[in-house]
Symmetry: C2
Subunit: 395 residues, 2 copies
C-alpha cells in the first residue's frame, strides 16, 4: 500500500536538489533560456536518447563519460540544439563547464539543448548564466520555462510517495515538446529527479518501460529530432524506496507529461488516442496505431471534425499489417462507426460522430478481430497553425 500525493512546484520538493532558470539573451523575449538542476550528493543517471543517427553534441558529450558515471549538475538551454556541430559542438560544452564555480564540487556535468540545428552555442551568453544562477535556490517553474521552445505552457509534475510504514520519498519532472514530436522521441526533453533510494538497475529498466509506453507513443508530426532526451537523476537523499510505488509514479508522470506535450503540440486543437485492438501481434497493433497517429489525412480529418472513417480504414490497410475488412470494427469513443455488417454512415450516426469529434480529446478504436494483442498511440490534429508555426520557425 502506498499513496501518491501530487506536489506543487515539484522540482523544489525533492530533497537535496536545487534548480533555477535565468534569461541570458538566447531568445528575444525576457523569458528564461538557460537552466540548471544540481544536487548536493552525486546522482545515478539513467537516460533514453533519440534514435536519430545524428545525435546532438550534448548527447555525444554524455556518452564520453564512463558507463554508470555519477553527476551532480545538469545544464539546459533553449533556442540552440547544438546539433550537427561536429567536434566543436562537444568541445564547446567542455569550454562552458570550465566556467562553472569551483566551490560547488561539480563532477561530470551534463548538458542538454533544444532549438535550431546547425549553429554553434553562444558560449559567453551561456556562461553569463553562471553569474545569475542562485545555485543554492530552488525554482521549479523558471527551470521548466527555460527549456520551452514553441511550447505555450511549462510542463512540470511531481509526487510525494507515502509508504504504509509512514516513510516517504519524492519524484518530480519537467518536460518540453511542441514540435518534431514522434514515437522514438523528438525535441522532447524530460528531466526527472528523485530522492528515493532506488537501485541503478531499477532506474534503467523502469525508465525504459515508462518511456516506451508514454513519450514513444505520441506523435505531433512524425519527425524525430536530434536531441530527444528523457533523463532520471537519483541522489538517494532519502533512505526509502518501493519499486511498485516508484513505478506507478514514474508511469503517471511520463504519461501525463506526454499528454501535456500533445495538448501543446504545434497548432493542435485536440488529442486523440488511437487504440488498435485484437491484432495478431503487439508489434502489428503498435505499427497500425503509430501510422494512424502520423497520417496526414487522418490528422486533417480530425481538424475538420469530419467522421471520415474511410481514412482510418485506409491507413490501417496501408500499414501492411494483417487485417480483414470483414472483421474490422471502428469506434469513435463508444460509437460503432464501421463494421462490415453496417458500413454506411447514416445522418444520425454522422451527427453522433461529429459530436464526439468536437471534444478536445477522444478515442478512435480499431478492433481488427485478428488476434488478441493491443496497443495505443496518441496523436493530435493538423491545423493551419501547424503549417504557420513551421513555415517560419527560425524567424
Amino acid at each position: 500500500m502506498f499513496n501518491l500525493i501530487s506536489i506543487k512546484n515539484p522540482l523544489e520538493q525533492v530533497e537535496g536538489f536545487y534548480c533555477g532558470g535565468v534569461h541570458v539573451g538566447l531568445r528575444p523575449s525576457n523569458d528564461p533560456d538557460v537552466a540548471f538542476i544540481r544536487s548536493d550528493a552525486l546522482c545515478d543517471v539513467s537516460a533514453q536518447f533519440t534514435t536519430n543517427r545524428f545525435q546532438a553534441a550534448p548527447i555525444k558529450h554524455f556518452f564520453r563519460y564512463p558507463k554508470n558515471f555519477q553527476t551532480n549538475f545538469l545544464l539546459m538551454n533553449a533556442k540552440n540544439a547544438n546539433a550537427m556541430t561536429g567536434e566543436r559542438g562537444i568541445a564547446d560544452i567542455d569550454t562552458i563547464f570550465q566556467s562553472l564555480p569551483s566551490d560547488l564540487s561539480i563532477q561530470n556535468p551534463i548538458m542538454s539543448s533544444t532549438g535550431v540545428i546547425g549553429y554553434p552555442l553562444d558560449i559567453p551568453k551561456i556562461t553569463s548564466a553562471f553569474e545569475k544562477f542562485d545555485f543554492h535556490g530552488k525554482n521549479s517553474k523558471e527551470t521548466a520555462r527555460a527549456i520551452m521552445t514553441t511550447d505555450t505552457f511549462e510542463k512540470q509534475i511531481g509526487f510525494r510517495i507515502e509508504l504504509s510504514d509512514g516513510n516517504y520519498f519524492h519524484i518530480a519532472a519537467i518536460a518540453k515538446g511542441a514540435g518534431m514530436i514522434n514515437p522514438a522521441m523528438a525535441t522532447m526533453l524530460c528531466f526527472i529527479i528523485t530522492d528515493a533510494d532506488i537501485p541503478k538497475e531499477d532506474m534503467d529498466t523502469l525508465l525504459k518501460e515508462a518511456t516506451e509506453h508514454s513519450f514513444n507513443r505520441i506523435s505531433v508530426d512524425g519527425d524525430t529530432s536530434t536531441n530527444d532526451t528523457v533523463m532520471l537523476l537519483a541522489n538517494h537523499a532519502r533512505a526509502y524506496y518501493d519499486k511498485r510505488a516508484f513505478k506507478e509514479a514514474l508511469n503517471l508522470i511520463t504519461k501525463e507529461l506526454s499528454m501535456q506535450i500533445l495538448q501543446d503540440g504545434e497548432g493542435a486543437t485536440k488529442v486523440v488516442a488511437f487504440e488498435v485492438k485484437n491484432a495478431t501481434t503487439e508489434a502489428e497493433a503498435l505499427k497500425a496505431a503509430k501510422n494512424l497517429s502520423n497520417s496526414l489525412l487522418v490528422k486533417t480529418a480530425l481538424f475538420g471534425e469530419d467522421p471520415n472513417w474511410g481514412r482510418i480504414a485506409s491507413t490501417i490497410g496501408a500499414s501492411g499489417i494483417s487485417c480483414d475488412e470483414e472483421k474490422l470494427q471502428i469506434y469513435y469513443d463508444d460509437l460503432l462507426i464501421y463494421s462490415a455488417q453496417s458500413p454506411i454512415l447514416d445522418a444520425k450516426k454522422e451527427a453522433q460522430a461529429m459530436k464526439i469529434m468536437q471534444q478536445s480529446s477522444f478515442k478512435i478504436i480499431c478492433d481488427l478481430g485478428m488476434g488478441s494483442e493491443d496497443a495505443t498511440c496518441y496523436g493530435c490534429d493538423l491545423s493551419y497553425d501547424y503549417v504557420k508555426i513551421n513555415a517560419d520557425y527560425r524567424t
Copy 2:
C-alpha cells in the same frame, strides 16, 4: 533508332480504341464523372495495384478473372471509391456491367473507381452513363476529366513512336492524383493504352519497372489509398513493336504524369526532387529520399521557403540509414548549404538558398559519402491549402 512524337488528345490517336466521359450526377458540378475506354479487339492487360491491404472492390473484381485474361472494356468513375464495401461492392460491379449494351461484344469488363471510401455505388446513376456514352467516339479530354477528384487540371500524354523502317505505333495515357499520394501508390489512377504489338511478358516487366521509378517515388502526403491503379491495355492493332522505344516512351509517360500529379498535389506550390547520393545501399538511399519527401517539417520549411537544412539533416538521421555528419553534404540545386567543414549558414548563403527555394521546382541533394548508391524521390510542400482541402474533403 526511333523518334518519339508527342501527340495531342492522345487517347484518340491509338488505333482501335474508343473513349469518352459523361456527367451522370455523381458530382454536383456539371463535369464528367463516368468514363470508358473500349477496344475493338481484345486487349492484354498488365496492372500494378495499391499495396493497401484493404483493396477496393474494383481491384478484387479484377482478380476474379483468370490470370492473363483479356478485356475490351474499362469503366471508370469519380466521387466514390467503392472501397470497404465488402462482397456487395464486388456484386455491384457485376450488376452495373449487366446493363452494358450487348451489341459491343464486351468481354471481361474492368472497373476502376476513385473517391470517398465506405459508400455503395449509385448503380442507376452509373448505368445511366451507358445511354449517354458515344461508344464509337473518341474524346481523350473528357475521359481524363471524368476521373479527376481534387485535381485542378486533367492529365494526359501520349506519343507516336516512329521506327527507323518507317513503321509506327502509339502509346497514350491519362492519370489522376492530387491527394493520398505516396510511394507504393495512392488514389492515383493511370490508364495507358497502346496499339503496339507488345508481348504480354514485356507489358508486365516494363510496367512494373516504370511504376517503381515514377509513381512509386512521388509523395504528396504519405498516405496510400485503397484504389491505386496503373494499368496498361494493349490491343495489338498495329503489327509493330520495338522494346527499347516502347520502354523509353512508357518511362517518359509515367515520369511526366507523376510530375504532373505532384505539381497538382493538394495545396502544393512547388515540386522538389530529393536526391540521396552515395549511400551504402540503394535501399537506404531510397528510404532516406522517401522520408525526406514525407517529412512534415521538411514540407512546411519548403512552403515557408526557409533554408533550414537542419530539418533535412535531422530527417536523414531519423530514417535509420547509415550516415555520418562528418561526411554528409547537403546541396540546394548547386549550392553547398551544409558540410562538416562549413556548417554555418551565413547571410550570403542564406540569401542564395532562399532564391533557389522560391522556384516552383528545385533539387535538394544529400550526398551521404558512405558508398556509391543513389535514389531520387519527388515531393511537394505542405501549405495551408492542403489542410483546408483535407479538413473538409467530403463536403
